[in-house]
Amino acid sequence: MTAPVTRPPAFVPNWTVRIAWCVLLIYSIYAASLLEITWERFLAGLDHGARFIGRMLPPDTSASKLELLAKGLYESLEIAVIASALGIVLSLPIGLLAARNLMPGWITWPMRMFIALCRSFHQVIIAIVFVKAVGFGALAGILSLTVASIGFVAKLFAEAIEEISLKQVEAVRSTGAPFMSVILYGVLPQVLTRFVGFATYQVDSNLRNSTMVGIVGAGGIGGTMFAAFQRFDYDFLLTILLSIIAVIMVSEMLQNRIKKLFQ
């Protein structure tokens, strides 16, 4: 009774994707073979690692070193907090002006160019430029992390604004509200929780980066850490690493509190 119906296959093989996966696999094997990872090298590495860790223990907690540590950490925190505050405050208008659903093209286009420029280079590269421009110290670190914060936060702000419901904006506009009130009532409530999320993430990121810009002389604990490395003060290095971990963990706890507050 049943007439044989010829139907197309339910799952069509995609040969382009299959070939792409094969190419990736072959390249990975080839690249791994270039690295000359051998068992002997691995064993030697374990030995070096053990000696390194041995020299780190116990962590150096002498008063003079702790003073150095406190000074460096304080400067790093200063860099992170000021750069985050500046970066986030500047990102608010920049992100708004870069949102293509609210602003005309002749504003969004240069704003997006500026954001892309801020994102182009790693913080350490920007820090080198600022060290040259304003000299060694925390100011160079603050400026470089501010630029990096704008590149990240303003871009995410703009994207969050581009995803809002325009119906709510339309309703506020229809009451005859001035432009800034439309932003405050129609736009901001829709994006506030996401903004807080991006901002706290950036604070976290800046905290970690503020420990690094010191390596190129832009202030903070990084400089102290780099010096400890070069002097083979591995026990002091461990003290620094442990205190950075502690700072990051405390900041993580604070962030969770703040996010809950703005749910």
């Binding site: 009451t175 005859g176 800034m180 932003i183 409530p189």
Partner: protein, 260 residues
Amino acid sequence: MTGAVTGAASAALEVRDLVKEYRRGTPVLRGISLRFPETGITAVIGPSGTGKSTLIRCINRLVEPTAGRVFFKGVDLTALRGRALREQRRRIGMVFQEYNLVERLTVMENVLSGRLGYLTAWQAFWRRYPADDIAMAWELLDTVGLTSFANQRADALSGGQRQRVGIARAVMQRPDILLADEPTSSLDPKTSVEIMELLTAIADARRIPVIINIHNVPLARRFAHHVVGMAGGHVVYEGDPAGLSDEHLKQIYGGENWLD
């Protein structure tokens, strides 16, 4: 009422040769000319996609008309820009199909946002509303039965409750006209009737004209004093609800199988 007015001059709102093209060469509104009376409910009926929403948004310029003019109480709304346009928008309350409440603000904040046209952004940010506005907001919440929800976020409400807040926000403007864009289309039949009764009560109490886009013909017949039928971007009927015949409905919606 405002004394004797001649029939021709008694239009609160006049739309003249209104054309709207979202894309060049494909007009949604193809030359609409209408006069809306000083009071009472006007229902604009017609199938989806025939330009009812566009018509209503061209009145308060949420959508820019391509050609034609809109006169409201003698003011040419199509000629206005910037502050002058915002000052006219304050006089025009609007109610939306999907309520368009600001979800993350409270019911009270949503109702009071009807006053944003009268506040600076600074006052709005710090919620510095005049005391009589706040008193009016409480009264409106009493009227729509949502007083106990005042400090809840708008996204905690049901559809019918949200639409009541949307109406309260529009009335908060102390408007001279109310535009409602499919206010009942997202609601169940019972709530729809209640919302229409609320709009009627507001039209009567404030003696303002209310223009309602609606595709539910029985509801339009029951509540409207004046009916405009639209099809294909044209006005094909204008007059009493009683004069609306099956022939007209066939012309507006096409086909006839859906008529009893």
